[in-house]
Symmetry: D2
Subunit: 134 residues, 4 copies
């Protein structure tokens, strides 16, 4: 069980969202950040770096947005739709773009295949949380 | 002239947004991050910290969202509406909430007054950029 | 196997550090960030928030330093002792301080017990990496 | 006067460091983050991106370390040498490396010249703070 999941049982929250759905999103955001950090680093080590520029940019955006969203979700005591919804929508958007771009390079670069998988999982987890918030 | 503004003149961008509007947003995000970091630290030093809990939380959310948005805006080579719009909307939402809460404490705590001002300016700059993107 | 660990096998690195030791540090930094985000949020929800101020501050420092270190370690193509050593030392210091403070509250607050555990694990993993770099 | 500087006058701090020296460091860290974000983005837009790989990597490290240091410095209520010193040393190291690399490209790329300047200023400000802490 991840630290995020363990922590959600240890204190009372006014936010009545299912703890498993919330923890799944935080874990996926954290994993996606890890994968995108590693993937842009690996892209920069490739000989065909010119072809990897879009992938590098999208990975960097993905790190920034996932990091912020993980922080905000960890901190929500009450649900603030005005902040949480657009932030999750931004996450879904960048995870989708980054996942698509990573998959384009998946056959050539195993690191892009792995990163694409982390992006897909994060996109799904953020969509799942958005659906649960409706 | 800020570094963000200077930099926008030094290389060709496909994103045809007005450089002054874009730099104003990046600068306001950077200032708001500074102010919110300092304000939550100051809140934690106050004797009535119990009354400052909401302000602390909102400042921390504001730091996370503004930091991510500044990164993404600095990096956009082409405009990606799917990412940029919801991210700016999340920024407007948190800057508004955080600015409102800071103003509630403005008479009692000068640091909250200053931080509220930075949040308002950032909210306006992000709204300005959103309008320019239409 | 974590994404960090998987990624390290997918591309050639000039940095000849053992991949298991490096991935263990990145994973522990990522987990510690998660735990410290959740713990400062939980602290802010406690009735005795005044007594939790030091814990909140240390958790926030720990998030900032662990986040930066995870980014830098993920990106290192070559080992740069001038950067990596003091950064890991800063990590060890804040994980120790934060872990000590969390343990002080461990009996009263289960979230502090869990967070203290994440800090200890991260401190050990960073010390392990520092030792491997000698 | 920057927000960081304004804020330091609004609440009592146990940390007896000169407010101008501290604010100068926080401002320089914030500016350097802005410049390094913009510079790695600009590098990624250059035709000779293969030659810019080291510059991109160093800019990304510089963003991560400067962001964390600005957060920690903003939050210090009391001076914690075990954390602050190595973190500032890491900052000095990466600002120096990044500034050196930027200067190598300064004639060819104006964005690297501007970024190199921001790195130098940040390196000096962090050294100044380290000296004041002795």
């Amino acid at each position: 069980m991840s630290y995020a999941r363990q922590m959600l049982d240890t204190y009372p929250r006014a936010w009545t969202i299912d703890a498993d759905v919330l923890a799944a999103a935080i874990d996926a955001l954290s994993d996606c950040t890890q994968a995108c950090h590693a993937d842009n680093a690996a892209d920069l080590s490739e000989q065909n770096v010119t072809e990897m520029v879009t992938c590098i940019r999208l990975c960097l955006d993905c790190v920034d947005v996932c990091t912020a969203t993980a922080g905000v979700l960890s901190r929500q005591a009450e649900y603030d739709a005005g902040l949480t919804r657009p932030l999750l929508e931004a996450c879904v958007a960048i995870c989708k773009s980054c996942g698509d771009e990573c998959e384009r390079h998946a056959r050539m670069h195993e690191h892009c295949r792995v990163c694409g998988e982390a992006c897909r999982r994060c996109e799904r987890a953020c969509r799942g949380l958005l659906a649960a918030l409706k």
